[in-house]
Amino acid sequence: MIFWEIAKRNTKIHLLRSFLAMLGIVIGVVAISTMGILGNSMVLAVTDSLHTVGDSVIVTPHTGGTSRGFGGGGGGLTSLKITDQQLQQIKRASAPNVAIPVLQTSDRMKFGVGQNEIVAPIYGINPDDVPDLLKLTDGGYSRAGSGALIGSQFAKDNNLKVGSRISIGTDGDKGTLRVTGIIEERGMAFDVSTDSAIVVTKDWFDSTYNRDDYDKVVVKVKNLDDLPIITAAIEKQLNKRDKVVDVMDTRKTMATIFQAFGQITTFVSAIGGISMIVAGVSILNIMMMSVTERIKEIGIMRSIGAQRREVMSMFIYEALILGIVGSAIGGVLSLLGGYAVSSLMLQTTKYLLVPSSLVSIVYGVSFGIIVALVCGFYPAWRAANLSPIDALRHE
């Protein structure tokens, strides 16, 4: 159609002007898409690093709300450990689901003569409960007190394998453990983060550190719909009079985390959207300039029989060309932008080409085209509604 051809040629003939208008759109699309990719990559990175799949209720001693520090202070109605009696209450409240008590500390350890001592977290878990909580990539679960499971990162960092020995305490004063299994990588988790830790039997932990209480209890819930019911039941059982324990529904917590990330992504994309609005104003300005320059041409077209809608279509096409070309360039550059930002901020680009990241580019490109069209509409409407006589008289 001739009006499409005129729009195309006009865009080409005013190349610098068209380029500047497109540049705004390009920047807008890149800003929106890159921020979207970054936000989505952050969510995916966190999802990957969080092992918890939202099937647990974590019970920890209540620590918040007072001037008491994390490990300090004492007295009052709250305790910083979970007692055996409280464990039984938790088990009753969460039955028939499994409630796994977990002990936790950190200690010095050494792996051989001449090696440096390191400090690492140690978890104490009943051997019967370990298979419910941890999966192994090598070796097997051990019931023997001198056996230990180690995290995959821990094994890699310290060059350990099944059968290796670990001396616990200063100069091994707390004894030596033999590695019986390597725990599958779990990343950061709400229950136990074992990647850089060792897991020993509860009995060994109790006797070595003189403990008869627990640091947390992990309830593995089979039916996810029961999560809020069990959370409420534990709260009711233990926090009847005073808040003794904090009860965390991991699914709810994860949902909160993802919601927060979603809001951050929306917010940063909205900041990108501001640049798109600036681009839109630029297009509006350039299109108005184009209309003003071509008033006489519009008058001639109208006088020889062009309908208003045809004149309008010519300017809409022009805006569409600016929008499509600018958005397409912006879309391609968004991939580069996403690559750069992901590399810089997340140290990985593995989330760049996943559909949920690429959809940010689709959004950015669509928004770019829509903004160009919306901003081109008023100048086009104005051109179409010029009086042919006034337009013909225009110099």
Binding site: I300, G305, Q307, L392
Partner: protein
């Protein structure tokens, strides 16, 4: 729209008044103007500046509407027509020739000439028809793919005439068609007009050059919004 009948006046003004409402008071540009143009006539309209020539041309070209009175183009009353219908009437029945040629700089000569045809057919057209009309106005074939800026004033005006003729209009409306040309080139354009009229094209031409008006068969003189002769 009615079909043009050969015995019907191609244009008819009946008691037409055009008043421009201005803040300082209404200005009557045309005051009870009545005339008619028969098919095949060659008419010139003359008058001093501010006499109402341009207003008359705008009304004849359906670019404006009368305050009162009736205007008929090929038997069709234009007063009650919508903007869409008036635009179609301009496209199908009227050919415009302007003083400053007014070709589209982004289109080449063939595209300029076939532009009204494309408006009418709503699709791309056979450029051969454009070539035929351009040859009829004596434009060299080698210029057909050039842009207007590459042509002389006389050549551009020939292209403008070809564009005005492309949809076989009932009337050719010319606004000072030689006003921007030297006398020799202007004479060439007027010879072309005369030839077109001889072949049956109705021409109405606004001019203030008596020498140019002499090419026409009848002159309507206008002063203070009234036809005086």
């Amino acid at each position: 729209m009615t079909d043009p009948a050969s015995d019907q006046p191609v244009m008819s003004f009946r008691d037409v008044v055009k008043v421009y409402p201005l803040p300082a008071g209404d200005v009557t540009a045309l005051d009870h103007v009545t005339f008619q143009v028969d098919r095949g006539e060659f008419i010139s309209i003359m008058g001093p500046s501010g006499s109402g020539k341009s207003t008359l041309l705008n009304l004849m070209g359906c670019l404006d509407t009368a305050t009162s009175g009736d205007i008929y183009i090929s038997g069709t009353r234009t007063g009650d027509m919508s903007d869409r219908d008036l635009t179609n009437l301009r496209r199908d029945r009227i050919g415009f020739i302007f003083q400053y040629f007014n070709l589209f700089p982004l289109l080449n000569i063939i595209e300029n000439v076939t532009f009204p045809m494309m408006l009418k057919s709503q699709r791309s057209v056979d450029p051969e028809r454009g070539r035929e009309v351009l040859r009829a106005v004596a434009l060299d074939d080698s210029l057909f793919t050039h842009t207007p800026m590459e042509l002389s004033g006389g050549q551009q005006q020939r292209v403008a005439v070809a564009r005005a003729l492309i949809n076989d209009p009932d009337i050719l409306l010319c606004d000072e068609p030689t006003g921007n040309l030297d006398s020799k080139t202007g004479a060439g354009i007027m010879d072309l007009m005369t030839e077109l009229n001889r072949k049956g094209t109705t021409i109405i031409m606004v001019t203030h050059d008596q020498h140019i008006a002499d090419y026409s068969h009848r002159t309507i003189r206008i002063a203070d919004g009234r036809i005086v002769e």
